[in-house]
């Protein structure tokens, strides 16, 4: 089903967006001019769009979600029971009736301790369907209709919150190698502030990044496109610039995401669209869309593994899975049950030059991991 036009049609009128963004982002910064009508952006930060307060009481008034261990102890309240399970099934995630791993088989039991989902009214992300529904969040700047039900599910799990395990892993992986190095090129830009017809290409970059002593990426470095192994991340979108913010039409995309130890995750996102405010030498904002619930679950359980999820991230499989199913808000199946859940990444980019190399060797060379190299071939 091609739903992209449908969703885009449902989007808010441009004037509404204009007003909203003027409120959100205030006056224009001195956005660096495009070069030959092109603006390149290379990813410096990616995490799920999580709105959180310092103590979490606003969004998680009931407290943070129970962990796998909390549920294990609740499911087997005595020491003797727990020892028996461990003796029989070795590991505490194997707490299904027949020793099933509850991350891989989240429906074999119900967690005794229910999901503590986000109760707050404020959330981050994009209004994906153009509506303001009861379950939508409002942005911190007052924009209504933010669709981010994934945040409702994971926003009270410490390992998913900003500063938690997942955030830390992404921070590392984004900088450690080119594998998560999303590269955006906005072309046909006549006016960096307002241009209702621009083309946006998404790639994975090939080259190393340089980080300054202030721990920020150095802007305006060049990046080649990973044509060899990054074909699946190449997506074309129509877009527009409104008050210095980029909005793209929704398309189905694959987001280059890698877990700890460089484990491939590759998140698929339906009706994905960027909403990025251009800054002086970069951009920040969101990539929003819908995740297929089963695929999302697969990515975070089978790929990351039960140990990492249970012990490191500290979340509980059955309660979270049931939360995903419960809060899924799009793509109903033939029975009317939604199969996809809205969500968003919060992204930060710095300006870059996207190099469209015509050199065949550049299209087949392995990725360059660092910027170091021979300095002077003559000596």
């Amino acid at each position: 089903m091609n739903t992209c036009p449908r969703v885009f049609r449902k989007g808010p009128p441009v004037l509404v967006l204009l007003a909203a963004q003027s409120l959100s982002f205030g006056a224009w910064a001195d956005i660096a001019e495009p070069v030959e009508g092109r603006i390149g952006l290379v990813l410096g930060y990616l995490n799920h769009a999580i709105y959180q307060t310092e103590d979490g009481k606003e969004e998680c008034p009931d407290g943070f979600h129970f962990t796998q261990n909390d549920n294990f102890e609740a499911q087997f309240p005595t020491e003797a029971e727990r020892e028996s399970v461990l003796r029989k099934y070795v590991y505490y995630t194997n707490r299904g009736p027949n020793g099933e791993n509850v991350f891989f088989h989240p429906t074999v039991i119900e967690d005794p301790l229910p999901l503590r989902d986000v109760k707050g009214a404020i959330g981050l992300g994009i209004n994906l369907d153009g509506r303001v529904d009861d379950n939508d969040f409002s942005s911190p700047d007052g924009e209504n209709g933010i669709d981010n039900e994934l945040y409702r599910v994971i926003g009270c799990i410490p390992g998913w919150r900003n500063g938690g395990t997942i955030d830390g892993s992404f921070r590392t992986e984004v900088r450690a190698s080119h594998k998560m190095r999303m590269l955006i090129e906005i072309s046909d830009v006549d006016d960096v502030h307002n241009d209702l017809d621009v083309t946006v290409m998404m790639y994975r970059a090939l080259d190393g990044i340089e980080v300054g002593p202030d721990n920020n990426l150095i802007p305006f470095r060049s990046q080649r496109i990973d044509y060899r192994e990054g074909q699946r991340y190449i997506h074309k979108m129509r877009g527009k610039l409104v008050d210095g913010t980029l909005y793209t039409e929704p398309v189905d995309i694959t987001v280059p995401v890698y877990g700890p130890f460089n484990i491939l995750q590759d998140f698929s996102m339906r009706d994905a669209r960027f909403q990025l405010k251009l800054t002086g030498d970069g951009a920040e904002g969101y990539l929003g869309g819908y995740y297929d619930v089963e695929r999302w679950w697969l990515n975070f359980t089978k790929i990351w593994g039960a140990h990492f999820n249970a012990d490191v991230t500290g979340w509980s499989g059955p309660a979270t899975y049931s939360g995903l199913k419960r809060f899924a808000d799009e793509y109903p199946d033939e029975n009317g049950v939604n199969t996809a859940i809205s969500g968003a990444y919060r992204l930060e980019f710095v300006r870059s030059f996207v190099v469209h190399s015509e050199d065949e060797s550049d299209r087949t060379k392995p990725a360059l991991m660092t910027d170091r190299g021979a300095r002077n071939a003559k000596q």
Partner: protein, 558 residues
């Protein structure tokens, strides 16, 4: 049918042209030969501390590029615009001796490490543990000849072999004993100082000349920034460098070597104060693109640009100030705001005509070095041009300089020009600022990191100014004014000559310098030709002894 009048007209013109050409050629020839016969001023023999590049080039020449060498030597005071002259006028402290020994130990340990030593040893010792004096002598004599840039004396060889023997016994390892001696040789005055030895001049009784090996070193460090190679040592040994034919032959060979690049790099890095890149830092909040590595690449960019222009293309030195050709790295491209294929380092690059970038002064290296960490400075840039490129010292500011007008936060100054006009209203400041600021204001289209800009704080930048009476309107025409300024080439000649003879020029050198300037002009301002002219000028090797210096004392080095 053409008229005879017409024929004779053409013939007459041709004759006239021939006469003019002949006159010019004759003038040039007479200039070349007659001026060279003029007396020259000779300085005393010099003793010069080896520089870091010369040390590194020596190790590379002897042991290859994979030997790690110290990257930074202790700072040296710049003398008359050149560190090289500071090296010829420095004292060596116990700390410096110790440091050279540590450098030497590091190199010696690498050279005689098990993985490498077979390559460098001219012989295989009878046993790895037992002392082998014959083999030790072969190694010491061979390496020592290149380190000391002359054959070792018998006494020196004997002493070093004895030391190697003793060390090998103590350390119970032949190679460790040899390594101990190699480290000592690398810290010895004969290696760390490049010194002149003189001998009686057989052609001019009562006068002295540099001996052949000293001539070889002077030639080699000037033309290659490296020690003499085997062929040059052999030429010295044969006495060829004392004859014009032999000298010419060696000079031609050396100028044809790729090692000429090392000399160009060494000289311009010195003349343009590249040592200051070591401590150059920019405020990354203001200039986020000026990341780590930019300063290093900025220096390398200028060196590659200069070397390519002067050596590879054999182009006119003056056009260095107007050329749009340069070299580009990924780190620098971020400052220049241009895309570059990051898989390649330092690719040739030509700036677009409308880029505002023409010549040396508009390279990020020059612009960022002569700026504050967070903003540009027309004064510092003007001073940089005057002192490094025109050899015109700028007086220091008075100790009681009043910056209150300049720094006044309440002042409504949007551009540097507005601030400087206010500052220069103080007569005590105006005199010096009129020397520097009109030049530096021509580079105000570049911020403190060297990034191009058309406005400052919203105000359009006026990049007009004047250089020694020549008005310019923008950075490009400032480059043209530099190209056409006689001081530009005169400065280069004076600096290069001083660099070659290891001493500051004096008033008595004026005749030689003027002669070199004329020949530089005659050769189309091609720097390799100027270098050739300098080394073939009798002033290059000229040496005189002070009355109180006993010749035997100086010559006794050997």
């Amino acid at each position: 049918m053409p008229s005879s009048k017409g024929k004779s007209g053409i013939s007459g013109k041709l004759t006239a042209i021939a006469v003019v050409v002949a006159a010019v050629v004759a003038g040039a020839v007479s200039l070349f030969y007659l001026d060279r016969e003029a007396p020259v001023h000779a300085g005393p023999p010099t003793v010069k501390l080896i520089s870091q590049p010369q040390y590194a080039n020596t190790i590379v020449a002897l042991f290859g590029e994979d030997i790690e060498v110290p990257r930074q030597f202790p700072p040296i005071n710049r003398t008359e615009g050149l560190l090289s002259l500071g090296n010829a006028n420095t004292a060596i402290t116990p700390v410096l001796v110790e440091r050279f020994y540590r450098y030497g130990q590091s190199v010696a340990n690498q050279v005689l490490a098990p993985a490498r030593r077979d390559y460098f040893m001219p012989c295989v010792p009878a046993d790895g543990v037992v002392v082998d004096a014959v083999c030790a002598k072969a190694f010491i004599s061979s390496i020592g000849r290149h380190l000391y840039r002359r054959p070792l004396t018998e006494a020196e060889v004997t002493a070093y072999v004895a030391a190697a023997d003793q060390a090998a016994k103590n350390l119970e390892n032949f190679y460790e004993g040899l390594s101990y001696v190699l480290a000592a040789m690398l810290a010895a005055p004969e290696f760390v100082f490049i010194w002149d030895s003189v001998e009686a001049d057989p052609e001019k009784p009562g006068e002295y000349r540099l001996d052949a090996y000293s001539k070889a070193s002077r030639l080699s460090f000037f033309l290659w920034n490296s020690p003499p190679d085997e062929l040059l040592l052999q030429a010295a040994e044969r006495g060829d460098l004392h004859t014009s034919e032999g000298l010419n032959e060696s000079v031609e060979r050396m100028l044809g070597s790729p090692k000429i690049d090392l000399s160009i790099r060494g000289f311009f890095a010195d003349m343009l104060h590249f040592d200051e890149f070591e401590n150059l830092a920019k405020d990354m909040v203001i200039y986020p693109s000026y990341g780590p590595g930019v300063s290093r690449d900025a220096a390398e960019q200028m060196l590659q640009m200069i070397t390519s222009h002067l050596v590879d293309r054999r182009a006119d030195y003056r056009e260095l100030f107007t050329t749009r050709m340069t070299y580009m790295s990924n780190a620098l491209a971020a400052i220049y705001r241009i895309p570059i294929n990051p898989s390649r380092e330092f690719v040739p690059y030509e700036f677009a005509e409308d880029s505002g970038r023409t010549g040396l002064l508009t390279q990020v290296g020059f612009l960022s070095m002569h700026s504050h960490p967070g903003r540009s400075s027309p004064t510092i840039r003007g001073e940089g041009v005057r002192e490094t490129l025109l050899c015109q010292p700028v007086p220091l500011p008075p100790p009681n300089v009043d910056f209150s007008n300049f720094e006044d936060p309440a002042g409504d100054f949007k551009t540097a020009r507005q601030r400087l006009v206010r500052h220069s209203s103080d007569p005590a400041c105006a005199n010096c600022h009129m020397i520097t600021d009109p030049i530096g204001l021509g580079l105000e289209n570049f911020d403190g990191a060297g990034q191009f800009r058309l406005t400052e704080n919203g105000a359009v930048i006026d990049a007009s100014g004047e250089l020694d009476g020549i008005a310019f309107s923008d950075p490009a025409s400032l480059g043209e004014a530099m190209r056409d300024n006689p001081a530009t080439t005169a400065c280069l000649v004076e600096r290069l000559f001083a660099y070659g003879i290891n001493r500051p020029t004096e008033i008595e050198d004026t005749v030689v310098i003027e002669r070199l300037e004329k020949q530089f002009s005659y050769a189309g301002y091609r720097v390799p030709d100027l270098m050739k002219t300098i080394v073939l000028d009798k002033a290059f090797f000229a040496v005189s002894l002070e009355a109180e210096t006993a010749p035997d004392e100086v010559a006794s080095v050997h």
